[in-house]
């Protein structure tokens, strides 16, 4: 058991390290303007991101991402609950959900990008709007699939409406809500970058696009590298949160599989 975990960890961290090493050696003597040596890219990476533009661009981008995602998460869950529980809201939102269900969330991104104006506020709004729907739909599905047996228990023991929402429905729907949040996070990340590439002169996306347009390939690669690293770290954070909140669910699934 322990050995398997160690082996997986070695493979998980070893592969990226190997790939980076391969990149390093294969590109070391490159003169191709589009594929500068990794060494050059890393030097630019350090010069650009770690000090100069860290506050003005990196923090700005991350701030937009988290704010937009947080708004999407809270509003998405709230609207999802209203849709599942309040009939008039259901009549309004259900057709929209049926329409959106068939479309991959990322395919909606162009709509929200066209909404993007200038200024941080508009960017956060478009991130939030785009990321809202996956969480909202997952919440509605999650609540609708809560078993009747649990709701019967809640009724027999006369739980209040508030207790039913926060102590029964919300935790019971949480596994599905989290899969919605995961998609929302990806969408938020994409819209964050796109919004900066299209409507801004600041942020990682804007810097990266600017570098590309002015043929500063090393800078462009440094930007892409940074986006990759951020995406990776954000996903790890999300997984940690998920593992904590859904530990009961992960445990019960493992138990059910073992049985």
């Amino acid at each position: 058991m322990r050995n398997v975990a160690i082996r997986n960890w070695v493979i998980g961290t070893g592969t990226p390290v190997l790939l980076l090493a391969a990149w390093w050696f294969l590109s070391a003597n490159s003169t191709d303007p589009f594929f500068p040596p990794l060494e050059t890219i890393l030097i630019r990476f350090q010069e650009l991101w770690l000090f100069d533009h860290f506050q003005s661009d990196v923090l700005l981008s991350l701030g937009n991402l988290f704010l937009g995602f947080a708004i999407a998460a809270v509003v998405g869950v709230a609207v999802g609950f209203a849709t599942a529980l309040v009939p008039p809201v259901r009549w309004m939102i259900d057709p929209l959900i049926h329409f959106l269900r068939g479309i991959p969330p990322v395919a909606l991104v162009p709509i929200f990008i066209s909404l993007i104006g200038f200024g941080t506020q508009m960017r956060v709004t478009s991130i939030a709007l785009a990321a809202l729907f996956p969480t909202m739909i997952a919440t509605v599905d999650g609540i609708r699939s809560v078993s009747n047996d649990l709701m019967d228990v809640a009724r027999v023991y006369r739980l209040s409406r508030k207790e039913r929402v926060f102590n029964v429905l919300l935790p019971a729907a949480m596994p599905q809500i989290f899969s919605g949040l995961q998609v929302s996070l990806q969408v938020a990340f994409i819209v964050m970058i796109a919004s900066e590439m299209l409507g801004s002169s600041q942020g990682i996306g804007a810097m990266t696009l600017l570098a590309q347009q002015s043929f500063m390939t090393a800078d462009m690669w440094a930007g892409i590298l940074l986006l990759g690293v951020i995406g990776f770290l954000v996903n790890i954070l999300f997984s940690l949160l998920k593992r904590k909140v859904l530990s009961w669910y992960i445990g019960s699934r493992r138990m059910a599989r073992a049985a």
Partner: protein, 284 residues
């Protein structure tokens, strides 16, 4: 496995969802639980399906009544009507003369599907606490109720575990403990001892008789086990099927206190279980 002597039943908020019916006076002869011409039809129109057509029986205060009947006859349906989860299609079920129209505050129900009736995200103890939160009990009483309920079903050691970490029989006992901690005046259980081992089963049967004595609780139990029904009950309601009807209410006249060994070896015990068995075996 024995319940510690616990304080008497607290007065509970009786502002229930039950309709006040001034025409029915509570008198000494009003049964605690009164099922009169109860009918239940699922669905409507073409697809309607009558499970219970005309069911009548009563349960007096402090009585233990068992319901036996073939699988699929509608026992669970009946209990859900009594618990106010399903509205009756016609006829009525009443507590102290008041028609049940929603879950009554003085009642607890132990569901048949115990593994689907516990909250998997809560530990055993928190499962017990959840129904008690709105009673706003002092912390000490809350703890005492959970402790004694868990001790009563022999699960004191498991209070920090999650239901899915427990065996089926242990989960069932958690569901029973949750009902006990709620301290209902009327306890309804749907095949509560179906998946526990024989020894635990005897212990839980005796626990059932003990809480009836200690709290003067009124208890209604659905069971498949005819011996169990005769051992536990003051009366056994035998149901016949399609649609469900009462074949007979058998009065069990075995002496109290009952004991797993002496009671079960009485000639009267054998006679009464034969009576119930022959009612069920007889082709309907």
């Amino acid at each position: 496995m024995s319940a510690r002597p616990a304080p008497p039943l607290p007065l509970r908020n009786r502002k229930s969802t039950m309709a006040q019916q001034p025409e029915t006076r509570i008198s000494a002869t009003t049964p605690r639980l009164d099922v009169a011409h109860l009918a239940k039809t699922y669905g409507s129109g073409e697809k309607s399906h009558t499970v219970i057509e005309d069911l009548t029986f009563t349960v007096d205060a402090g009585e233990v009544v068992c319901i036996v009947g073939p699988s699929g006859v509608g026992k669970t349906t009946l209990l859900k009507c009594l618990a106010g989860l399903h509205p009756a299609s016609s006829g009525r079920a009443a507590i102290d003369g008041r028609t049940i129209s929603g879950p009554p505050p003085e009642m607890a129900l132990v569901f048949q599907d115990y593994n689907r009736s516990l909250m998997p995200w809560l530990t055993v103890r928190k499962n017990l606490v959840l129904p008690l939160r709105h009673l706003k009990l002092p912390a000490a009483e809350l703890k005492e109720r959970c402790d004694s309920a868990l001790a009563a079903v022999g699960l004191s050691h498991a209070d920090n575990q999650y239901p899915w970490q427990l065996s089926g029989g242990m989960q069932q006992r958690v569901a029973i403990a949750r009902a006990l901690a709620y301290r209902p005046e009327i306890l309804i259980m749907d095949e509560p001892f179906a998946s526990v081992d024989a020894q635990t089963r005897f212990d839980l049967e005796d626990l059932c008789l003990k809480i009836r004595k200690d709290f003067n609780m009124t208890i209604l139990v659905v069971t498949h086990d005819i011996d169990e029904a005769v051992y536990l009950a003051d009366r056994v309601v035998v149901l016949g099927s399609r649609p469900a009807r009462v074949l007979k209410v058998v009065d069990v006249d075995l002496p109290a206190p009952r004991d797993q060994i002496t009671t079960r070896s009485l000639p009267d015990f054998a006679r009464q279980r034969t009576e119930v068995l022959s009612l069920i075996k007889r082709p309907a």
